[in-house]
């Protein structure tokens, strides 16, 4: 359950590029006003693919504003997810045990919001530092999808174009990608931590399930217990040789935020120990924070700004 006074935040780098690589385009600082306008006009939402049996969840940027904190400019976003299939929330009386369930009305979905702070100052590589509340249902993929939609619509609405080698004006659009901020390598954090879980995952398995005609294996995953962290590289090499493409790690870092650290390493491209993981921090607020809020909370944004990497 989400705590009302404590939240975890994740550090990302928002990397921007156009559909045509090596093309320069206006800075995020210029685009921020266009994003804000779309949010103010209530246009900033997307519908996700619907579940079997009806009811499609949606993502929305509820609020947006451009702030200056400590002399630096930030685009502050309040992201929300609405899920019509989610169970109704219930509350239980501590003494009587009586339950009070809040039922969803028509067209309503269970909501959660996440504050998101994006530094408008550009870091090398067209990157922008970004801190996001870690909320279930508003993970990296969904946030990326929402931002990609916004930037594509803005690119189309305002006519983003470049001149190609033949001298023709060609439309293009801005594509965002969220990468874990390069705060710390797995090896550094693991060195002082207890490794609690290692998984090898094959996400592209082509194996069929011979015993059940018509069924096929969509994902192959094995959990491995190890006591010696130095075996990780050998496990990664074993996984790669057996067509596993990802290695998932969970570990408890005594210097961490109080929640297990997690990382998923692409075995085809990355070295396990050398990979940076998405760093998480805990922030606390004095006034209780609901699961979903209608407005950006200044105390949350201030606390997040303190965790913003330089």
């Amino acid at each position: 359950m989400i705590d009302s006074l404590e939240r975890y935040v994740l550090l990302y780098d928002l990397k921007l590029r156009t559909a045509r690589r090596d093309t320069e385009f206006p800075p995020l600082e210029d685009l921020a006003a266009a994003i804000k306008k779309r949010v103010d006009d209530g246009e900033s939402h997307i519908e996700l693919p619907s579940y079997e049996g009806g009811g499609a969840p949606w993502l929305r940027i509820k609020k947006a504003r451009i702030d200056t904190i400590g002399g630096k400019k930030y685009l502050q976003l309040l992201l929300s997810v609405g899920d019509p299939r989610a169970a109704n929330p219930s509350f239980e009386h501590s003494e009587t045990g009586a339950l009070r369930t809040v039922e969803k009305l028509e067209k309503e979905g269970k909501a959660a919001t996440a504050h998101c702070s994006i530094a408008l100052q550009e870091s090398p590589g067209k990157r922008h530092r970004m801190v996001v509340e870690d909320i279930r249902g508003l993970g990296r993929t969904r946030i990326q999808e929402l931002l990609a939609h916004e930037l594509k619509v803005i690119s189309e609405d305002y006519g983003l174009e470049y001149t190609n080698n033949s001298g023709d004006e060609v439309a293009t659009y801005i594509i965002p990608s969220l990468e874990g901020h390069r705060a710390e390598k797995i090896s550094a954090s693991l060195g002082r931590s207890t490794l609690t879980g290692v998984w090898l995952i094959d996400t592209k398995t082509q194996k069929s399930l011979d015993e059940v005609p018509g069924a096929k294996v969509a994902r192959r995953e094995i959990k491995i217990d190890i006591t010696d962290k130095s075996l990780l590289d050998k496990i990664a090499a074993y996984g790669a040789s057996k067509n596993f493409d990802r290695l998932r790690l969970v570990w408890n870092d005594p210097q961490g935020a109080g929640k297990p650290e997690r990382a998923s390493v692409d075995l085809t491209q990355q070295d396990v120990q050398d990979t940076y993981f998405v760093k998480q921090y805990k922030i606390t607020v004095s006034d209780p924070l609901d699961e979903a809020v209608p407005e950006l909370r200044d105390d949350v944004l201030q606390a997040m700004a303190k965790k913003m990497p330089s």
Binding site: R20, D22, P26, L31, A33, I66, D157, Y158, G159, G167
Partner: protein, 194 residues
């Protein structure tokens, strides 16, 4: 002093592969070629009418003429592609310089350095060829050998660097300048930031 500093501005530009092109490759080439000259010993001559320096001296003024011509063409063109800035993550940057680093400026600094290098090397070669036989009679054979090897290495390093930098210039003239600037712009005005 800016007059004497200007030809060397190209060496101060930070760009992708800078040390490879202006130091590592020329150094390797010079080491190999000097090693070859030392190894061949008396079979090849460095000085004299058929020596290495005379051969290089024949090429340098021609190369210098080409570089000056290229410099003139680059500076007299009003091509928008030439006057555009660089795009991408590894843009050439000249530190402590307030001018925009356009493709035209980059090429002007490059060909300026190449022109300076070719004429200076020609001067050094001519001077060495003229004075070296006299110096040879004044000093012992062992120090003479060191001076000869060091001078040969220096000249070959600078010549190899000139060749390496010429390849950068040719790359831009034959490939990069044909390409569009790679700058995407919005046709309509974005809302004001304030």
């Amino acid at each position: 002093m800016n007059i004497f500093r200007a030809p060397f501005l190209f060496l101060m530009i930070r760009f992708h592969g800078r040390w490879t092109y202006i130091l590592v490759l020329p150094l390797l080439a010079a080491l190999v070629m000097t090693g070859l000259v030392v190894w061949l010993g008396d079979k090849v001559s460095v000085l004299g009418p058929s020596g290495l320096f005379t051969k290089l001296l024949a090429i340098m003024p021609i190369a210098g003429g080409f570089f000056v011509a290229a410099l003139t063409v680059i500076l007299s063109q009003s091509n928008s592609v030439l006057q555009a800035g660089f795009v991408g993550e590894n843009k050439p940057v000249l530190e402590n310089d307030n001018e925009t680093m356009t493709r035209q400026r980059f090429l002007a600094l490059l060909f300026g350095y190449l022109s300076f290098s070719s004429f200076t090397i020609a001067g050094i070669l001519a001077g060495t060829d003229f004075i070296a036989p006299a110096i040879k009679t004044l000093i012992d054979p062992q120090p003479w050998l060191y001076i000869k090897v060091l001078t040969t290495f220096g000249v070959l390093f600078w010549t190899a660097q000139m060749f390496s930098c010429s390849m950068i210039g040719l790359f831009y003239l034959t490939d990069r300048l044909y390409r569009a600037t790679g700058v995407a712009k919005f046709k309509k005005d974005l809302p004001p930031t304030s």
